[in-house]
Amino acid sequence: MIGILKIAYRLLVNDRGKFIATLMGITFSVFLMVQVTSLFSGMMKKASSTVTNTGAKMWVMDRSVTNVASAIPLPDYVLDSVRSIDGVRYAVPLYSGGALLRLRDGTYQPVTVLGLDDTSLLGRPRLVAGNIEDIYAENGFIAVQDAEFPKLQNPAIGTEFELNDHRGVIVGIATVPASGLFGMPTLYTTFSRAAQYIPSMRYTMSFVLVEPRDAAAIPHIREEVAKLGYDVVTDDGFVDRITHWYTFRTGMGMNILMMTAIAFLVGLSISGQTFYTFVLENLEKFGALKAIGAKSHELVAMIFFQAIVTGLVGYGLGIGLCSGMVALAKLRMPDYASIITYQNLGLALVMVLVIAAFSGYIAVRKVLRIDPYDIFRG
């Protein structure tokens, strides 16, 4: 069978015009599919940046919370109650909110402020300048050096600003794994200072961050928090919740789905049509093979082999093209929200295999119907 597949391969690649046209269809289709889905993945990563940057294992929140930005403040007793649950190693509060900053030149800039537990500073970022202890200094804030950093006019340690008529001072510069979705710079400070400086409702805790004793303790913690009337999710669970919300409640998911479907249909139509034409033009030759003695299953194997080879080569080219474009875009736009995940690659591969199977199927139907007698009749 290897020899037969070699013939199929040569028939395919030596017909350069058709082969390149089919490849282009699949490559373009894969490029679009991966580009769109990786953009979605990138946006979801940014939307979940607070969760991933903080690194807490479990998050306690109001049951109505759908994402970090929609946090509903929790009463103080929740923190005490969670701390008293058997299986909780420790639990700390987290403040997450928005504020308006007045910069040195008098311009205003909206920022995200994260207030870390005063005692443990759980969830603190990795500093690239300054000392973490300085966060306790008067009016101390740590600025995150990400794509949004220039919006703070590239502050250095000692740079002052105003936050709701309070004086603030940059005491450290930090980096985080992921920047936020909405293009706002991020400042870290202590929980108490955040609650003091930023106007808020009666309650100030956005979330309670929990470290379970071990994985076995998680179900019990869930039960006990549920009894309090609140929700607790793992970090992965929170990321899933955020992704679900953006996917199904904002229209973003449907738009991405439609773009992916359009890319799939483009690939299917171009590749299916070209591959079908390729087989049609070789129909008499396949008939001659049948007359010589090729069996139907051998012809089927040849055609599906050609379809799969085209699909996989196109897949590789599409992935390469997309990776190159994303890398190039990130060079020019550091905040470009696109990450190629294994899920994106897997989805595109499945789509390509469907395209190959469809193209192969319509070609096989034609080839199996050809009567070698027609070859003799000319």
């Binding site: 020899g3 030596n14 007359a291 010589i292 090729a294 009749r377």
Partner: protein
């Protein structure tokens, strides 16, 4: 020892039903021996190609039997018939039907590859047969770079590479000038025909009749001769 290569009896094939039924072949009986070059001649539409298709296991007759080297062709299953064609019959089609995107060598090797001969071995054998037909130096070229006569020789090399017992040539001179056509048929007669091979040629080119050992005439689906039955 069986000396009969083809034993065809009472072959009938029609197309259409009722008032539109047309007989392409009607009660054809004939035999052919090994080491015999048999011509089936007649005007266009006389049923030559249909008869050829029936005896080579491509078109099932409505009635009658065909035995190739003692094997009842139409008593076999489809897969067995395909195996019989691959193993015992070599075809030289009127339009050659060479793959333009394969090299000449690869074209000749196709039946060998279908017979599961290892790739390198198939290529070596193809080179040998290309040498036999005088095209050894053209092995790496695609058929589209060859002349009509050369393509015909490639088709012959492909047909004989798998050492068939029955070689079928359908209008072998149709696309060739008179001189080239004669040389091709002479080549087949002198270089291919042996004690283990029977060659059937369908043609209406009377310039090559001189190479025939025996000629059967067809008209309106009937063999006009007695068929020279040797069984």
């Amino acid at each position: 020892m069986v000396n009969t290569a083809i034993d065809a009896r009472g072959l009938t094939r029609w197309f259409g039903e009722g008032d539109t039924r047309t007989y392409a072949v009607r009660d054809a009986t004939f035999a052919a021996r090994f080491h015999e070059m048999l011509y089936i001649v007649g005007p266009s539409g006389s049923g030559k190609t249909t008869l050829l298709s029936i005896i080579s296991g491509i078109l099932r007759p409505n009635s009658g039997t065909v035995a190739i080297d003692g094997t009842d062709v139409w008593g076999l299953r489809e897969r067995q018939i395909a195996a019989l064609r691959l193993g015992k019959i070599g075809f030289v089609f009127q339009d050659y039907h060479l793959f333009p995107t394969l090299s000449t060598r690869e074209n000749v090797a196709v039946p060998l590859v279908l017979k599961r001969v290892a790739w390198n071995e198939a290529m070596r054998t193809a080179d040998i047969y290309l040498d036999v037909v005088g095209l050894a130096k053209r092995a790496g070229l695609p058929p589209t770079r060859l002349s009509g006569g050369e393509q015909q020789r490639v088709a012959i090399a492909r047909a004989i590479a798998a050492k068939p017992e029955l070689l079928i040539l359908d209008e072998p001179t149709a696309s060739l000038d008179g001189d080239t056509g004669r040389k091709i048929v002479e080549f087949v007669k002198t270089q291919v025909l042996d004690d283990h091979t029977c060659i059937v040629v369908v043609t209406h080119d009377d310039r090559i009749y001189s190479f025939a050992d025996r000629i059967l005439h067809m008209e309106d689906g009937r063999l006009l001769d007695d068929g020279g039955h040797h069984a």
